[in-house]
Symmetry: C2
Subunit: 341 residues, 2 copies
């Protein structure tokens, strides 16, 4: 895992978009869905998928037997969104195939036999889809997908039937949140089959003003249409956010809040996850608006992951919550101060 992780690099429209993700739900024809599958059968699928990818050789993947991981290691993967929270609850017969830069992760034994996921920094739906599609074609060439001419790809949950595609854009929307416009946006985009929800907590003010916008419709729609719909709406929201920011940032109290957040991040010696997400969000707004040049968007995106509890433990070995709160500030200082020099 020596390659630079995707979440530590810049991406397009990084001022407002943190990351983009595309996932494809796939199942094999000759096996029962995961809710009824035996451990042995899922293990067979895992083997087949891995063999197919090795045989193809286009990507450099690692195969991880999830049952061999500690709870903390598994949790750290969920914090990075390499795997879903559900995936790590019972890890028997589950496996993850992951690329060195962690942009591609393939969950084996989640709600479907195979979940191909591609994540990239910034706003990059086409590239995410292109890569996911490439992996999908490799597997399709080697394996027998459960597919119905009328319905499309068959999935365990009917909400994924059809394309099996869920694309999502994680956006940083502090100005829209502060203007109280989120409920309105939520209602509007629901009408065209999209949904928006807080990344760190639901409700009208999720922590850090981080939101995920994703498509809900998978039936009777092409992958391209689903991607284009989402792209078009996310672009509109992005432009609205930028426009509201230009007003917001002129407010001296907001400027003060942003600088104080940077000062606190650079100097605090104890900090919990909630506070760090909130302060990193404030500083992110400051960098995006050109107010702060001490650090950059990549560093802040990386910190949002490195300061999550399980990742801290993986990085530093911190065993207790107190020790993590302490190490969190060291990780932040190291990242923010190296950029300054």
């Amino acid at each position: 895992m020596s390659e630079r992780k995707w979440y530590k690099s810049a991406g397009p429209c990084g001022d407002t978009v943190v990351s983009t993700r595309v996932r494809l739900a796939r199942n094999l024809d000759s096996y029962p869905f995961p809710c009824r599958i035996s451990e042995k059968q899922q293990a067979e699928i895992n083997q087949k998928v891995n063999d197919s990818l090795l045989c193809d050789g286009s990507f450099n993947f690692r195969y991880i037997d999830m049952s061999q991981l500690s709870d903390t290691e598994a949790m750290a993967m969920a914090e990075k969104r390499l795997v879903s929270p559900d995936f790590i609850k019972d890890r028997t017969a589950k496996a993850l195939i992951v690329s060195d830069d962690e942009t591609i992760s393939i969950m084996l034994g989640e709600e479907d036999h195979i979940r191909i996921q591609v994540m990239r920094p910034g706003f990059d739906l086409e590239e995410c889809y292109r890569v996911a599609d490439k992996v999908d074609r490799i597997l399709d060439a080697h394996l027998n997908y459960a597919f119905n001419e009328k319905l499309g790809f068959l999935t365990e949950c009917p909400t994924n039937l059809g394309t099996g595609l869920r694309a999502s854009v994680m956006m940083h929307l502090p100005a829209i949140q502060s203007a109280g416009l989120l409920n309105q946006i939520m209602t509007t985009i629901a009408k065209i089959g999209l949904t928006i929800r807080g990344t760190y907590g639901e409700g009208s003010s999720p922590l850090g003003a981080m939101y995920q916008i994703s498509n809900q419709v998978t039936l009777d729609i092409s992958e391209e249409s689903a991607i284009n719909n989402l792209k078009s709406i996310a672009t509109q929201i992005m432009e609205q956010e930028r426009s509201y920011r230009s007003t917001l940032i002129k407010n001296p109290a907001v400027e003060d809040k942003i600088y104080r957040a940077l000062g606190t991040l650079k100097y605090a010696r104890i900090m919990d996850t909630k506070e760090s997400i909130s302060l990193l969000s404030d500083v992110r707004l400051g960098v995006a608006c050109g107010l702060i040049s001490d650090t950059d968007i990549d560093t802040l995106t990386g910190l949002c992951i490195d300061t999550q509890p399980a990742n801290i433990t993986v990085i530093t070995g911190a065993a207790s919550s107190q020790e993590r709160d302490r190490q969190r500030t060291e990780i932040i200082r190291r990242a923010l101060c190296s950029k300054q020099a």
Copy 2:
């Protein structure tokens, strides 16, 4: 006023003692006390005092006609404690004689005809008294003090009768305050004729944990005894504070608070007086305990004065409270960042 001001230099025991002050209340024999004096008579006294000092020539003084100052200039002097708040209310016929470094200030027309005041950084009662006594002797040689063999120096208010001396030590007592020991100290020292009160607000938790300890007894006591009593008690309190600090500073929450205070002072863009006093106090504790080396005690003492409202206006020309809150952060940043380089 080019000389470095006293409050921007280090003093003895600066870890716990901010400054020391000695003042002598004196009146002239042939004039009524200020409560009954005419403007013309007080003006005569002002002239005589100034002439005496000029004639002697030991000190390099400036003579300031208080009626010529703006309210802001007068208020800035009160914030520096060069003059008392009462002294600047009605400034008719009042004058101030002040040394370049502002250690010596002589109020003419306060509650007494003449109030000689000497202030120095840190714990320095002897030197304050030595200088005050020197000024006193010069005036005594040229003027006729109101003096009674039995009572000593005669003053308008009977609480100053005798020595006319009030010595005070401004101490920074965050550890004693945090341990809740102040009421106990207050009761104890009252019994031996001393008093302790908050510099920025009364009650059990004055802002910034700054306290003034001063003598109350002026009758039937020598100047030396009064000074020695105060010195002995202040020394005990100082040692108690240091001892409590060694425990307090080991508390991770306290360490965190100190570093956060420094971060906020270095980065905030809007700050009111109360917050700045409180944060400067936290950082002062950090510097005194060797936790923080980015800045020093002199800088912090200077900032406690330069960030007071009227001083900000004098320094920067800021006209409104909003503008002062903004300029306050600039003054702080300039002071804290120059030290860092």
